[in-house]
């Protein structure tokens, strides 16, 4: 990874008529970086990606690729490759013609484009399928053709729009690794849209969390996990999702009192007065089931879910808390539990704005 910027968005806005789809988006992507764009449905991920490809024109701001302003440059002159969610393979062309389409447009000699197609087919495991039509391929094979069609171009950037969402779970995990290792091997710059935060966490160097056309937070995966800057990011990154409870700062300003449940320690370095109400975020994996009496959160088990390697304990009440428990628990419904959490694992957010409080 070099320091050279490959993609740069400065105060980018996109309007669809009266609808404001992207709001003052700022994003810098270095050469060789793998950036994941995540967020709930309709937040503008595809819009941003399509703007990068030139399929949408941005309404305001500056969009640069490899240092050149691209605002008004048509897609064919941007030298980026895109993998669509639907794969968008040309149905009337064989696999090999799909792969070489871009080269044929550039009038590359036949021998050269065929050699390139063979090479790409070898990387993506398509050697035996070159003469087939897309309709004669399985979902996973189509996905590979779509990848191959992008790879053959050696573009300035790869743009992926939820490329794995049509595959089954096992294949998804496999392709995840494959795409990432391909990215490393090619030394490519990639922007990868997904609504699956696990995909983002496992694949990306840099995650951009979007919501309603705004970038909520961006940074390295663990940075987002450790220090979510808003309640939304806290809830979005991490699985199972973070528990949120209303908490009041106690008189001693050392603990947070949570109504009906008990108390948790107040993290240090936060300037809060006694009696102030905040939203506390407690990750399921940070809650520990403790024995005996003592401070902590006291609740009754509602039900338990086993995944095999771990179990999720969900407690009764509004809100019910989810607890991630490694291994198998012997807890039964209606059993009383005491939950404790370390002070540094308690995330606090402003009750109104959802902004993170403290460091």
């Amino acid at each position: 990874m070099s320091d050279e910027l490959q993609i740069e968005l400065i105060d980018v806005d996109k309007h669809y008529g009266a609808f404001h789809a992207l709001k003052a988006v700022n994003l810098s992507i270095r050469k060789g970086q793998f950036v994941a764009l995540v967020g709930p449905s309709g937040c503008g991920k595809s819009t941003l990606l399509r703007s990068l490809a030139g399929l949408e024109t941005i309404t305001a701001g500056t969009l640069k690729i490899a240092g050149e302003v691209m605002n008004a440059v048509p897609p064919r002159k941007r030298d980026v490759a895109m993998v669509f969610q639907s794969y968008a393979l040309y149905p009337h062309m064989r696999v090999i013609d799909n792969l070489t389409y871009s080269m044929r447009l550039k009038r590359a000699p036949r021998s050269q484009s065929e050699a390139a197609a063979k090479e790409v087919a070898a990387t993506t495991g398509l050697e035996k399928l070159l003469d087939r039509y897309p309709r004669e391929l399985s979902g996973g094979q189509r996905q590979r053709v779509a990848m191959g069609r992008a790879i053959i171009r050696h573009p300035k950037a790869f743009l992926f729009d939820e490329p794995l969402s049509n595959l089954d779970a096992a294949l998804r995990v496999h392709m995840r690794k494959e795409i990432r290792s391909l990215h490393d091997r090619l030394g490519a710059t990639s922007v990868y849209v997904t609504h699956d935060q696990i995909e983002a966490m496992t694949m990306a160097d840099h995650i951009v969390v979007m919501r309603d056309g705004v970038i909520e937070q961006q940074g390295a995966p663990l940075e987002l996990y450790d220090r979510p800057s808003t309640r939304f990011v806290g809830g979005f990154i991490g699985s199972p999702a973070m528990n949120f409870v209303e908490a009041v700062v106690a008189e001693d300003r050392r603990t947070l009192v949570i109504e009906d449940l008990g108390s948790v320690p107040l993290p240090g370095g936060i300037m809060l007065g006694a009696g102030e109400t905040v939203t506390a975020g407690l990750r399921p994996e940070h809650l520990e089931i403790s024995a005996g009496d003592g401070p902590g959160l006291h609740a009754k088990v509602d039900f338990v879910e086993f995944t095999g390697a771990a179990s999720f304990v969900i407690t009764r009440g509004a809100p019910g808390l989810t607890v991630f428990n490694v291994g198998r628990t012997t807890l039964r419904p209606d059993e009383a539990v005491r939950l404790t959490i370390a002070a540094e694992n308690v995330h606090l957010f402003d009750r109104e704005t959802g902004r993170r409080l403290g460091a």
Partner: protein, 275 residues
Amino acid sequence: MTLEWRNRVLVVIALGLAALYLFPLYWMYVTSLKTGSDIFATPPDFLPRDAKWGNYGYVWTSRGMASYMWNSIVIASGTTALTALLGTGCAYVLARYRNGWIDVALFLVLMLQVLPASLMITPIFVGFSQVGLLDTPRLAVILALTAKTMPFFVVLVRATFMSVPAELEEAALVDGNSRIGAFFSIALPLARNGILVSAILIFMQAFGEYVYSKSIIQSPTLQPASVGLNSFMGPNTFEWNNIMAYAAIYVTPILAVFVLLQRRIVAGLTSGALK
């Protein structure tokens, strides 16, 4: 009643209806092979006593059918070519872009479809005579017919283009093609079936057209077979066998095309015409 019996009854009803519907066609062919006296026999013969194939040759030469058929083909081909050329682009735009103006255009296109030819012919005739188009009457008919067939073609082909995902063309754009290039290399090949089928339907329609040709083309040497057939049938006509032979010669080619292509036509009209 069992299901099987119900199916049988339905088949019988269907056959009955088909027979009723196809009887005129059958009667045309049978009559075209009869002698002049046979046609007035009572009760009528449902099969000719001895087929007079000579009727066909006689009509072909005596009525100068070669010229009429040629004119029909010229008018139908011209109309089809012009409709396909102009209509495909129009249908594409109407399929790909969505805004208020497009809706207005689509409404007007459908509106045109509603107006009957006999109503349109007067303004068309006046207009054409003023710009001197009546000097080239076949071209004038082609233009008038194109205007008439266009809505039908556009509506059908638009549906075909809408079944081609826009993402395919976007992929082509990102792959390095221009907007026009993407149309020709992606959208057009994928819509080919729908366009072909619609063009065939337009051809058949134009091949049998009567109102415009009758009104616009005065010279018999330029008239199509539909007008020729009509002038064959005077008020005192008794040559029904020859008239039917004329009609048979006229419709058989187009009927054959339809029968040969009917599978594709039906498929093209009902499916998304992909593949």
